[in-house]
Amino acid sequence: MTNAIECRSLTRTWPGNPPVEAVRGINLCVEQGSCFGVLGPNGAGKTTTIEICEGLVEATSGEALVLGRSWKTDGPAIREQIGISLQETRLSEKLTVLETLTLFRSFYSSGLEPDQAIEMVSLQEKQHARIRTLSGGQKQRVAVATALVGNPRLLFLDEPTTGLDPQSRREIWKIIADFRESGGTVLLTTHYMDEAERLCDRVAIFDHGQVLAEDSPRNLIRQLGAEHMVMFEVEGAQTPDPEFGAGLPGVISVRTESGTRCLSVSEVHVAVPALLAAIAEQNLRLTSLTTRQATLEDVFVHHAGRSLEDGSEEVKK
């Protein structure tokens, strides 16, 4: 079975002064029937990469094969089989949901009935409402429905849930899960680690136009060697030295995030008693202590050496 998407050493340089190397040698392989997530901070090159795969942006070098075909020779055939939702599109406010989907359906030689697509995104009650009157989450579902109406084999979603409330995000997740159940392939980008962990079989972590790490969310976390995080703070003026905690049993690495000390640990039950003992020994007073499972966020920090929130600033430097 051919892969749904294959990218080989893709690069893309945006002209400008200075030119921006948005994508710098990316290789991706998306298996048919899987959900592949592209994660990364602002400006990492996610949109540029996905739009190269969608045939909207031309790669400076390298090539993206989609459903076994090349954009150079088979553009129209690929477009018949993919559905896309751009990072930002404002559909015509004055058309109704049904009219919009009927319009998009007319572009495809085969596909769903428009009201089937509406049903897939649960907007039946709103089908005669003008787009202008919809909430942000409902508009986003219409955008996804326009991607589904051509009955695609491959769905591209660029930040489908950014800016939505948790309820709306879950609705989008459900649409994606349903689409996969029917055998479809999904390539999505996101800033949300939990979204990627939940939806994706494989995740590629992007930074500065390159892939830092790529694997299943589970493996990425496992490869940290530390599947748990222990976070603590000590009272006021007391600042333990930066390496405090590093040598303790079970602790893999240490960092400080806005006053909170974070320890990556392999075994919580070994590390915590040792930590408490060390704190008592130095006469420090704990003000908080929490533990959690490691997430993709920690994977990003591990590879990029900074947290996701700092990402955009880092890029500007």
Partner: protein, 350 residues
């Protein structure tokens, strides 16, 4: 939902545009009501028929009252009286066409007027004739005045073709240009590019929807012009229809090329004004473009709007037939083809 013709992308794109237009009341207002208001207002303002009175200001001097009485008796004068300053103000502001001043018996009667202003010299002559006749002048030649109130030769007959041309230009340039740039800004063009939609379907639908909006607009102008002012086409309506359809196509193509690359509404509005202002001024909407110097006449004849208006006037006022307006139709077709092909080549989807 059945497929077939209704699900053809051309039909759907056309319907989408059509609905958007109908659901934008201000767009409907500007394209339908505005030209009508303009026609009615100008038609009434330049109504011919009863000859308007001559506005005369009588300056302070000798025998003012007698002068006023004489002019009143002769009729056809609207008299303004006041100090010399008041009179000059009246002349400056256009309330008076001429100032008359009668002086000492051995001094000449003085007329003061602006020779460059339409009506200034006429007013002077009218007052002069009245005073000369009163003083005993007898005209050796008998004359009779017949004013031009026949349909076909009035200002309104001249104006309606101009307004039709203006409507075609505004509708095509704004309707196509603005809508496309708006879709580019909203990234809908880019979104559509990601579907199997054919680009020429999109462009054809944009233009076709414009034609369908413009033709009723023109029909409304023609019907109202006929009902209110009796404006008719002496050359029949086949030639008018040919000009209107070709003109609508021509200006849709011009709208298309204006919008083909602009990425902001400011940019496209600037380009539209740059395109339309020379035609508003030069193509003879409100007054004959023959008034411009001979040197620029060849240029004016090549402006996209000039052949539309001049051929409409030939047909409607001078009863020309389709065969007589071929040169104008050729210029319009030329503009349409050249701008269309260029626009399609340079069109930007994002």
């Amino acid at each position: 939902m059945n497929s077939g013709i209704l699900m053809h992308p051309l039909v759907q794109l056309f319907l989408a545009r059509f609905r958007e237009f109908l659901r934008t009341p201000e767009a409907v207002f500007w394209s339908y009501v505005f030209p009508l208001v303009m026609m009615v207002a100008l038609g009434l303002a330049f109504r011919t028929g009863d000859v308007p009175p001559v506005n005369v200001a009588i300056a302070q001097g000798t025998a003012e009252d007698q002068l006023a009485k004489v002019l009143e008796q002769r009729g056809g004068f609207e008299i303004i009286r006041g100090s010399n300053d008041d009179c000059r103000t009246a002349l400056r502001s256009g309330k008076a066409d001429v100032i008359v001043q009668l002086s000492e018996s051995d001094q000449p009667t003085r007329f003061q007027y602006d020779a460059a202003r339409p009506g200034g010299r006429d007013a002077r002559n009218a007052v002069n004739n009245a005073l000369q006749a009163e003083a005993g002048r007898r005209d050796p030649l008998q004359t009779e005045d017949v004013t031009a109130t026949e349909p076909g030769g009035r200002y309104i007959d001249f104006l309606v073709p101009g307004l039709i041309g203006m409507g075609l230009m505004g509708g095509g340039v704004w309707g196509v240009g603005y809508a496309i740039v708006d879709m580019r800004i909203r990234r809908v063009l880019r979104r559509m590019l990601g579907t199997p939609m054919k680009k020429h379907h999109f462009i054809a639908a944009m233009m076709a929807s414009r034609l369908v909006f413009m033709i009723p607009e023109i029909i409304v102008i023609l019907i109202l012009g006929w009902l209110m002012f009796g404006v008719v086409s002496y050359g029949g309506y086949l030639a008018v229809a040919m000009i209107v359809v070709l003109g609508a196509v021509e200006f849709s193509c011009i709208g298309l090329i204006i919008a083909s690359r602009a990425r902001t509404l400011e940019a496209v509005a600037g380009l539209m004004n740059l395109t339309m202002v020379p035609m508003w001024v030069g193509s003879g909407i409100f007054f004959s473009s023959e008034r411009f110097p001979d040197l620029v006449q060849p240029l004016i004849r090549l402006l996209p709007l000039t052949p539309v208006i001049s051929s409409l006037r030939l047909v409607m006022q001078e009863a020309a037939g389709p065969a007589d307006i071929l040169p104008q139709l050729a210029i319009m077709a030329g503009w349409a083809v050249v701008t269309f092909l260029t626009a399609v080549r340079i069109f930007r989807w994002d």
